[in-house]
Symmetry: none
Subunit: 226 residues, 2 copies
Amino acid sequence: MGTKILLVEDDADLGMVLKQYLESSDFEVKWYTHPKALLEDTEALRNNELAILDVMLPEMDGFTLAKTIRKQHEIPFLFLTAKGQSIDRILGLKLGADDYITKPCEPEELLLRIHNILRRQLSTTPIKTVNLGAYAFNPALYQLIFNDTIIQLTEKEAELLSLFLNHNHQVINRKDILEKLWGKDDYFLGRSLDVFMTRLRKYFQHDSRISFDSIRGIGFKIEFPE
Amino acid sequence: MGTKILLVEDDADLGMVLKQYLESSDFEVKWYTHPKALLEDTEALRNNELAILDVMLPEMDGFTLAKTIRKQHEIPFLFLTAKGQSIDRILGLKLGADDYITKPCEPEELLLRIHNILRRQLSTTPIKTVNLGAYAFNPALYQLIFNDTIIQLTEKEAELLSLFLNHNHQVINRKDILEKLWGKDDYFLGRSLDVFMTRLRKYFQHDSRISFDSIRGIGFKIEFPE
DNA sequence: AGGCTAGGTTAATGAAAGGTTAACGATGAG
DNA sequence: CTCATCGTTAACCTTTCATTAACCTAGCCT
């Protein structure tokens, strides 16, 4: 029994080839020719582990489709792009394990990327929501729950919080945070980080067990209750 | 200034292009045309955060190079492969964050993969501490641990202590200390050093085996238990 | 002994890091 | 086009730390 993969590809020939190739590599493939067909198939979205999306699709491009799906489901994407096509938007999605590959692609490369994603997936997909003292956090939906009220976090807030969750009880460098979330480290981004720290602290002010202590010259020490 | 990257590429044209492109993207790039040159530059291996290796190199291919470096240093690799080249061996390396990209590559794709690697990188760096009698010292976090309590040192205190650790049982000149930590030696910096000595002595007052004895006119004699 | 200097100690000072709040400007939805 | 949203930048304030200053003690010389 193989891993279940969703495939959205409008070109009938390519779709068929991919499906057969992946099936021969021991995956279970469900193939859609229209983005909408996948969106409506919520059962499939819940039970599959990877979605391969063509970027050029009728009605709705692959990135938009991915973004729409992300609002509800936590599933990694592998995008199929034509050579030279801009991939800036992948950076915008940024949640987790996504990757992309250019068409036409080597079969082995496709398999490698799929395996990479699944490998990362395994180690990084935790529970749907994490309990944080008096709070609960859903990383996929950027939501923080406190006393039955939902606090909708922004993308960066959620990313930062997710990063901290993976480093509970640890000290984490400013520089590492900046590299990881922003890709580089300069003065202004550092100030930006400070602004986000203030925001996170405000969200968590009602549970004194949760703290983000600053360590001058180094970074922050993260504390969440077990 | 951005993240430091090592690049090994024997083709002069491509090497130069890559170096310039990455520098324009705010990375700091050190470029080698031969694998050996990198292997010998241990200082660079310690202080850099990502190595981009061409797979086809003179004398030693990129994978072998990576494997050799891995024995000593923990650094993620991004491999440059020609299209169609076998990539099986990348799977063999298997250590976490590595990735690869096929030449010729889109500039944005290169940046994307670099950022992906750096993003994943953080979670895997371990912490190490040195035992000092009744104390333990973590140089990376500037922390001194004594009886389960953490004493947060400042940057200069930690630097000074680190210097002393490298000269256990030895006499060390005032002048050398000043040159090393402050870059120069004048009257005021000397007094500053004395202030730091007082502080270090206070921190370590609970273990009599640890001492920083002054030797008039010369410097200090450092003693830590083994 | 007394004078001189190196170093010990503590407190004052100024610069830089970080905290906080608000304004700005890009982006995207309606 | 207008409005809302969100990340970034700006401005201002607080805290921290290295440096400087001031005063004190111990060693060394004649």
